[in-house]
Assembly symmetry: C2
Homo-oligomer: 885 residues x 2
């Protein structure tokens, strides 16, 4: 708390006072002090807002007096009084939090007008039409945002008036028309609220300030904060500023502009404006604004002033700026400036250009890119060369674009998906019952639900594109179709969705695979020079390995061998191995798998020539390779009732027995990982043999294999000790047989709390640890990811029980505590131990920052996330980001 001062004149603040004055107020102060043409005013602090909210909507002591004092100061500076009948001071009132936040109350213009002062304004300007236009706008905005009257009431009255007068545009209405409209608007206020429109300027100001404070906690604002990790206790500031008018005539204008193109990053003045208009006309779309370049022709002097001012701002802030301006009778006024939002591609270009221009350092450039935003560029995207007609827009719930046929239920999605068709599951909203459909679909659309809805959480978890809450989509399940404003889409019709922007399009739109632009590459070169963390990839195939290497992966942190078991030509051998009645039978089945695995490994070693490849021995429970118990039982019932052959029934019964013997109550916590390796030693030994033989073969071909063998799901040092011994034994045999010497490391996953807690003991037998933070999160929280994301995590996020999905962002307070502990214990035993993370967190920026802090050696993530991880690692090394600061 900065004492009791709740109100600051613009010339009392600066850009650093953002948390106290809000972004808008701080920048108005900064511009004022830069000598730019900012209409005078003052800012009520965020602390005042918090005090107001905490006191149950009461002004804190002193606030009212301070507002009165600062208003008096402003009045004396302007030589006018607020709403004074003859020459009224008029002000705007705007909210402005430290972070830009849609959903809060935005703007009230022309405050101070009433039936008396409007006459003074008319007399003073000699423009009655302007005065009444300003007055009706004020009532309209105040009625809507302060008094919470549905804006349709005002729009309808305006439309009726225009129709009655045969007017095409607002500007065609006369002063008399507008005066009549003022009366209509005042009647609307009376009808809707039961009270007269407040005429006292001090009441108007008081009510507006309170409305801004209240809007901090309206539902949309709260949701936005939750989604963007903005704390609830920041509060919003209130800016009270002298009005200037862009609607006083044809030498007036208002507009918005960027110092560079926010979609490409190109260095051109970019924006749009309207002549003879007020700010909200530009946004409302009632009139079509013109591109900013036209202003150079229309008002060359003002344009020159604007261009110069924007140059000055960018040089001052060393950042691309987004500004609002008004030109009142050829004089330029600056009403707002802020760091401009931009696409990922623009962000990269601007950062690279600004370094070339000497505006910022390479460190700055690296710190300015939001790794999360890069995700846009690293999923399949709509081909930007193809124009799209957007059918409807919803929330961008999970990035990436997808094309598929519309299906309306999960069973159909599963059926068609399993048959190889691409489908988009389209639902009112999804429930746990729909999971099998989500799995089978290319993407998800829901007409209901927000960024933390079931569909959104599940899709993000699976990395599938998802657009949520597309309210325009009206689903008719009986007719198996949906409509959007008269367009009908039937089940089976093809649509395209873009989860990064929330757009839904009809038909198939060409997608392009993710690629890395030159700017992107430049930023990554700088990032690589700065990061300490290594970046590896999770890859199970030579193809993925090649791609990941192109993206800059410095090795493989996790190669899952089970995916190799899943191939169609291998499953029969895998099942034979599982169902074997004896060790010999099992050995025979493994003999078939050995050359296949060896081939896989050889391909991967070749792709990663010279870089480390961490291969995890078989991890999942064996029943994952078998049909489900329920399926086998249902089939058996069918066979019996249909009178199948006795021998067929007997075979099915035998299968049932074996499947039942493998079935588990909680497969996540059952016979898998190293437990399998201890129970069926021959499986791991086949894998070790395949790895070492593959390395020998690769080496013979001139490839340099760097082998790391990883034992999964270790809970006790003893498990690792035994399996390490066997691994070394098989490896020596193979090497002796090949007459070769290849050094290799043996390590383990740390993915169970007990492994983390006893990491000192485990490190005696491990040359490296790889934190399996997916499983570690599951066991630390006691959350089965499948069940949690399907059943209760969405509600947990919605109700703020958790601020983030711990499967997406590493839970520093719990899981992170174990990781930190394990790092310290591991290093105490073996100071040079290599420490990595191979859970999905390895590709998430905040989690990567944590990995940097606890001193991991590397992170490993999916190939497409490698660039993101390189950048995030550099930002962590530079001590965090400068975004939104």
């Amino acid at each position: 708390m900065s004492g009791n001062k709740f109100v600051y004149d613009f010339d009392e603040g600066n850009a650093q006072m953002r948390s106290l004055l809000g972004g808008k107020g701080a920048n108005l102060a900064e511009m004022t002090n830069l000598g730019l043409p900012v209409p005078p005013g003052f800012t009520i602090t965020t602390e005042a807002c918090n005090a107001y909210v905490n006191a149950g909507d009461e002004y804190p002591a002193g606030l009212l007096d301070e507002v009165t004092d600062h208003l008096a100061g402003l009045e004396s500076k302007m030589g006018k009084k607020l709403g004074e009948p003859r020459d009224p001071l008029l002000v705007s009132v705007r909210s402005g939090a430290a972070f830009s936040m849609p959903g809060m109350m935005d703007t009230i213009l022309n405050l101070g007008l009433n039936d008396e002062s409007v006459k003074g304004l008319a007399a003073l300007t000699g423009d009655e039409r302007f005065a009444y236009d300003s007055y009706r706008r004020f009532i309209q905005m105040f009625g809507n945002v302060v008094l919470e009257i549905d804006k349709d009431h005002f729009e309808r009255a305006l439309t009726e008036m225009k129709e009655a007068r045969g007017a095409k545009s607002d500007t065609d209405l006369s002063a008399g028309d507008l005066k009549e409209l003022v009366d209509t608007f005042k009647r609307i206020v009376k009808d809707q609220t039961g009270s007269d429109f407040p005429t006292a300027p001090s009441d108007q100001l008081d009510m507006s300030i309170r409305a801004v404070f209240r809007s901090w906690n309206n539902p949309r604002a709260k949701t936005y904060r939750k989604l963007n990790d903005i704390p609830d206790d920041l509060g919003t500031a209130v800016n009270v500023q002298t009005m200037v008018f862009g609607n006083k005539g044809d030498d007036c204008a208002t507009g918005v502009a960027f110092t560079r193109d926010p979609s490409t990053g190109e260095r051109v003045l970019y924006g749009e404006y309207l002549t003879n208009a007020q700010g909200e006309d530009v946004v409302s779309g009632v009139r079509t604004p013109r591109p900013i370049a036209k202003l150079a022709d229309e008002m060359p002097e003002a344009y020159g002033q604007l261009a110069e001012t924007m140059n000055k701002l960018e040089e001052h802030y060393r950042e691309m700026q987004d500004i609002e301006f008004t030109i009142e009778q050829s004089t330029l006024y600056m009403l707002q400036c802020r760091t401009g939002k931009r696409t990922a591609a623009a962000a990269l270009k601007i950062a690279v250009d600004m370094v070339a221009e000497g505006l910022i350092t390479k460190d700055d450039a690296v710190l300015r890119i939001d790794p999360g935003q890069l995700d846009q560029l690293l999923h399949p995207q709509l081909d930007p060369k193809v124009g799209v007609d957007v059918l409807a827009t919803g929330l961008p719930a999970s990035p990436g674009a997808a094309v598929g046929r519309v299906v309306f239920d999960a069973d159909t999605a599963e059926e068609k998906g399993n048959a190889g068709e691409k489908v988009i599951l389209t639902r009112w909203e999804t429930t746990p019952d729909d999971i099998h459909g989500v799995v089978a679909a290319q993407g998800i659309v829901t007409s209901h639900g927000g960024m933390t809805s079931h569909a959104a959480v599940v899709a993000r978890g699976m990395g599938k594109p998802c657009v949520c809450g597309v309210e325009a989509v009206k689903i008719d399940m009986d007719s198996r179709l949906f409509t959007v404003d008269g367009t009908t889409i039937r089940e089976g019709d093809v649509i395209t969705i873009d989860g990064a922007t929330g757009r839904v399009m009809v038909g198939e739109i060409a997608l392009i695979p993710p690629a890395v632009s030159e700017d992107f590459k430049q930023i990554l070169v700088w990032a690589d020079e700065r990061r300490r963390l290594g970046v590896r990839t999770n890859s199970d195939t030579p193809e993925d390995s090649v791609r990941a290497r192109e993206f800059g992966a410095e090795g493989i942190g996790l190669c899952r061998t089970e995916h190799m078991f899943m191939a169609e030509d291998r499953i029969p051998h895998v099942r034979a191995m599982i169902l074997a009645e004896s060790e010999e039978e099992r050995a025979r089945a493994l003999e078939h798998l050995l050359p296949m695995q060896r081939g896989d490994f050889e391909g991967i070693f070749t792709a990663m020539d010279g870089l480390p490849v961490t291969i995890r021995l078989l991890d999942p429970p064996l029943h994952e390779f078998l049909p489900s118990l329920a399926d086998v039982r249902v089939e058996l019932t069918e066979m019996k009732l249909r009178g199948a052959d006795a021998s067929v029934v007997a075979a099915q019964e035998e299968l049932l027995g074996k499947v039942r013997a493998q079935a588990e109550a909680n497969p996540m916590l059952g016979l898998r990982g190293c437990r399998l390796g201890l129970r069926y030693p021959e499986i791991y030994m086949m894998q070790v043999r395949a790895i070492i033989e593959a390395a020998c073969n690769a080496k013979k071909r001139g490839v340099e294999p760097v082998v790391e063998i990883m034992i999964p799901l270790v809970a006790t040092a003893k498990e690792l000790e035994i399996l390490r011994g066997r691994t070394e034994e098989v490896a020596s045999q193979v090497l002796a047989a090949n007459g070769d010497r290849i050094s290799f490391k043996i390590g383990t996953m740390i993915e169970l709390p007990r492994a983390a807690l006893t990491a000192d003991e485990i490190a005696e037998h491990a040359e490296f640890f790889s934190f399996g933070t997916n499983d570690l999160t599951q066991t630390t929280f006691g959350f089965s990811r499948d069940d949690a994301e399907g059943k209760f995590l969405p509600q947990y996020l919605e109700q703020h029980v958790l601020d983030e999905n711990p499967f997406e962002v590493l839970d520093v307070g719990g899981v992170g505590k174990l990781v930190d502990m394990a790092c310290k214990l591991g290093r105490a035993t073996r100071p040079d131990i290599k420490l990595g993370v191979c859970g999905e967190h390895g590709g998430e920026a905040k989690s990567i920052a944590f990995c940097h802090e606890v001193g991991l050696t590397y992170v490993s993530c999916s190939p497409f996330r490698v660039p993101l991880a390189r950048l995030a690692a550099a930002q962590a090394a530079l001590g965090g980001t400068t975004r939104d600061k």
Copy 2:
């Protein structure tokens, strides 16, 4: 290491040198120094054994010389030389580890005899029969235990000789017969080993010492050590002692005796002896020994000497002693003394009596009882008034007695068990496939497998009686019967088993419920005076609560409300609640359950009048109350194929949909505990209402309810914060409606790693923690108990991956670390927080010691374990036990 001294004469040692000299050697030394008549000898240390084993069966440097020196010393003391032809020194060689260990090589007597020295012995004693009897015994023992020849070869030859001579007993054989037998025995040795029987006494001694050393690592000894937590690196000592002879004539005898009755604890000289016999005759059962009291008639002087010596020993050791003695020509010799094993009942009586006699303190008495042994007394037992005919004996794998009909497979067990029949599942051994049968059975018998076999581990986990490895039982699955030495038991026949002793009996034998004797009560009174830990019980019914209170429970630490939902008359309402389509429908179902729960709670408050009752709100996943997904699918398939009515099929399909929606991949980690409470607030609120209403009702009847409400499965402080708020709200409403004031505590289970790691935050909202160490063990290890005990834990114990089943004995190194951390964090936030444990570990002695160490407030366990817990808590407070020290 105590330097290089490997051999100690008896007079160089004492009872404190147990780890170096072994129990036998240390006590021989102690008795020697007490002036008791011990035949002279020396002991080779356990360190020598370890050195021998570690060197790959090689004597350590210096050992051979030391043995030679000490043998020379012994020879000079006795005035004889080992195996010297005219007047031979003969010795016994015995193993003796620090802990009594069956399975190791036991005894070689008469070492030093050969074809020459036997003549000297005959000449010297004038008793050729005695000399050759000694010789044939020596060959027999040496052949069996050193040369590892099956003892049947020797027994058969002896039996043939007796038959040929028409002799009833060994003593009927003449000197000539025995001489012939010696030749036969030597031939057996030659036939079986390919070498002649070693005649050089030094070779005999050397081979015997090596055999003792080797026996340390024979499989039975290793298994025994694992079962009894005896480290593998202790080694065994070797005792070489001058022979005395109980078989020189009718003024000779040999026997074993206890200073008190080891089965009742009564203070009488107890034991048995044989005249004219050597030690192994008493044990072998060839002749039936006489009760020790008869010795007073037969050899009054020797008896008097024995009684006096034993009194002296007990006074010296202040413990009941188990001794071996020999009387050679009326002179008493003491060959061994050790603390006597005893039944649990005897242990209690002896401890109480010794306090009365002033021999030991009350602390000693409390410390001397093995809490684990009390388990015998706290399960249903065979009525001791009923004599039993034991059919066969196996390993005592899981205590308690059970009666039931024999069934031979798990499916039959399940079928009959579900039909309400009591069955004993009898298998060669069990596998994970048999679990459903184990669940349905009263007890388990296997003909194969040891104390860590699948059946043993699973049965102990479930608290079911189990007898393992009954090798005499020969199962014939085709005929559905088993035989034991000609007795046939068919499927459906009734048997009784006693898992505490490993006995199997034919027919139904009366069982008695567990009870607490006067001695037991006395020990518990002393224990209560000494312990700091409170002891509560886990109880879900008024009946269990009453019983637990009788056993000394000081409250309820865990009352599981889900068991109340399982009652037959309630399940329909529970299902209606789960399948409800709306909140109203769910509320209606809950209305039915409310009065039932209220009644349960009122009964429990009444039973626990004045003592705290911790009630856990609903914990298990709701699908536990529904039929299984597979069952519903199979039924649906049957309905369809049998052409059932469309409406019936439709209803089943609807049920399938709902069951599928509730189904989970890993129910242990799914929608349960507080997650349920957050998802369906009305369930918890009904329960809170029932609890507070029950407390009000009880109070109106003069009962003092002490209410503690426990929220399960908390992973984050926020979960608890929300549910605590709702609980307080409902409670205030109920109290206001009743016009009553009842204080109550709200707390939580700590059963997830994350809860332990963030216990400081959680403690802000919790007045108590109860460690749910079952679930905490599951998540810390990543072991689903059902799957682990069924699938891999037995193998883990067998292979020493784990030394103990962590679901039985708390894993101090991992789970314990979390418990300790949570205690510290919890107290840091709330210094007066109550800390308890309510997992099964709360009834296990080692785990209780840990709970004492980390400073818990109480442990809570099943009613029958309450006495055990009281004792274990006292021992922990006294700083550990004195057993086996």
